[in-house]
Symmetry: C2
Subunit: 419 residues, 2 copies
Amino acid sequence: MAKRMNLFYAQSGGPTAVINATACGVIETARRHRDRIGRVYAGRNGIIGALEEDMIDVFRERASTIAALRHTPGAAFGSARFKLKGLEESAAEYERLIEVFRAHDIGYFLYNGGNDSMDTAHKVSQLSTRLGHPITCIGVPKTVDNDLPVTDNCPGFGSVAKYVAVSTLEAAMDVRSMSRTSTKVFILEVMGRHAGWIAAAGGLAGEGRDDPPHVILFPEVPFDQAAFLERVRQSVQRNDYCVIVASEGARYPDGRFLADAGTRDAFGHVQLGGVGQVLAAMVKDELGYKYHYAIADYLQRSARHIASAVDEEQAYAVGRAAVELALEGQTAVMPTIERRSDSPYRWRIGVAPLSRVANREKMLPRSFIRRDGFGITAACRRYLAPLIVGEAYPPYRAGLPRYATLKAVPVRRRLDPSR
Amino acid sequence: MAKRMNLFYAQSGGPTAVINATACGVIETARRHRDRIGRVYAGRNGIIGALEEDMIDVFRERASTIAALRHTPGAAFGSARFKLKGLEESAAEYERLIEVFRAHDIGYFLYNGGNDSMDTAHKVSQLSTRLGHPITCIGVPKTVDNDLPVTDNCPGFGSVAKYVAVSTLEAAMDVRSMSRTSTKVFILEVMGRHAGWIAAAGGLAGEGRDDPPHVILFPEVPFDQAAFLERVRQSVQRNDYCVIVASEGARYPDGRFLADAGTRDAFGHVQLGGVGQVLAAMVKDELGYKYHYAIADYLQRSARHIASAVDEEQAYAVGRAAVELALEGQTAVMPTIERRSDSPYRWRIGVAPLSRVANREKMLPRSFIRRDGFGITAACRRYLAPLIVGEAYPPYRAGLPRYATLKAVPVRRRLDPSR
């Protein structure tokens, strides 16, 4: 390109502890290529920022603020659950996107998200060519759910995995020490609507037969109440306590979730919450044990204070790679993480076409789930273990992490506020 | 004493992230006084270990294991919710305790717990003199609830306060970044049955009017549903989101808890849990906002990975002081933490008679609660802020904290297993 085009970056879906490390990778790499990239604009509230021409001029931030994004949780520019549908169905939105991109000389679109976002990036790529304003579209992987295909793992997952493994270990030590007279059964409810990756990470807390967690419930394994209760009873008999890590997506053989709050988000997904309570009531009613349950909810994906160093490094690396792929002239691709070996853990950045990534979910393979359905296998442990290594602590002041605060200077609008 | 007497140490009630730092302080200090102290025995499962003559010979552990207790959560020797009642009512138990202490040449009884435990230590002191086997009884403060009187603060509280402050900050950043299209209201349910100290600590996450948490619910303030909902509505209008930190002990003006699971523990306390869900339903039904809630439960008190360095230091110091007080010939006392100044924070160890500590709860003073009842005052902030300072990180291996594992060699029994 003769003209230096601008780069548009947006965050999509639920934040992770390290999504801003990816933003940092994107921005710092773009800054090193001022000969090719004009400015970096970030969508306020994700793709909605593009649709509403509401963008933040990222180069107006101090370099130290951008560097601090690397250790800042949340989605620094705002994110959204907003799914563009098919090119026909959501034609107006896609055309508006291209219009905004054209008006702001945006030649690069980097979309940082999960399955749905990869699909959007793919479609924008197709449409922009068709509309005569070809845009380099790069998907940038991010999801605590670890369910993107092709890539070995997803940035964001390693940190939630570390949080869940550490929390399971710590809570188990608490419960065990009190089990004689107090709580016998402790349940930790974790995220994972369809895939059991996060629940599986709880399995890293212990390895032996009597080590916690004594039961893991995966969405991939139909819930068998009798077998579950028997397992809990055995654990309490043997160890005097039982620690359970339960995925929010645990479901009955007929597909019903154990807990279904009845509301749906913008993607039409059922909003879950409450499996911990359902299991607790079951344990109490059927076995009579005293219980406690914790619901980690957003704490698990925002816990930057206990982020995995490997995860943070990979999150930064995919951001950097996304810019480099764009500058190489690639489009409709996503940087991936390729595992070279388990131990010592070695990885490198690869690349996958968005068409192979979009709208596909990677479930926990059956070989990662123990035959009885209540735990993880050695293969799963080999896969998970390297992802939680290293503590990428944020800096602190007066006992609290010092997280970045943006100036968030808006980009001047060039279009009518038609939407 | 001509003869070197042995020292009995027991942990009581719910563990904290740093109760084992106190154990470490006791044991390491006792080891330095082998001329005066024979051996240190720890009760397995707290005071039950004495009643059942089930004790651990602590000097059989490696010095490195004892040192590692300093960064190990849970109650390393086991704890119990087991309350000895009045000297008449529980006469058999008290007499049994003295019998076991006499059989094992135990001249020092260090009891590490909260209000109930201070009462027990006090009564053992009285009875042992009456029964002709006088025992030096030292209460050692420990409670996440921070509700012991006389002492400025309680070891264990600083770490849960840090956990709650950091988690509130991080979750708030997550919610804020998604509020445009997703969750508007986030509720973090924290411990604190009668006293709002832990909920108050959430207030450290932000200071300005629009900073999270936007609402704190204390047990000390009767719940006013209309005012609460109005406050939530205002926060969402102004900031597009609302973060609530709710004490499990939040209650209606008539004294009913917002959530009462209906079960009671050994002390007759109602077992709580679920205020998060009750508030969430209220917000949804009355205001229609999308919500999420987290229940920190045991995670908050076992989170050694984010323990406060000040708290860990004080926990160790009260353990050391307890042994030193015993060796000075003091009895029926508890080492306290005396604050010398807020900023810079200075403290020292003091001492209080158990009679002034036992069975009294220190509530959050009214001057620490904002006039509207939904936040903390500057005075509260000055009190809380120093307690969360410093990160006392545990060592890690392969991504997980390396917590101590005891050999737990039992002390040979000398009595008939009459109980």
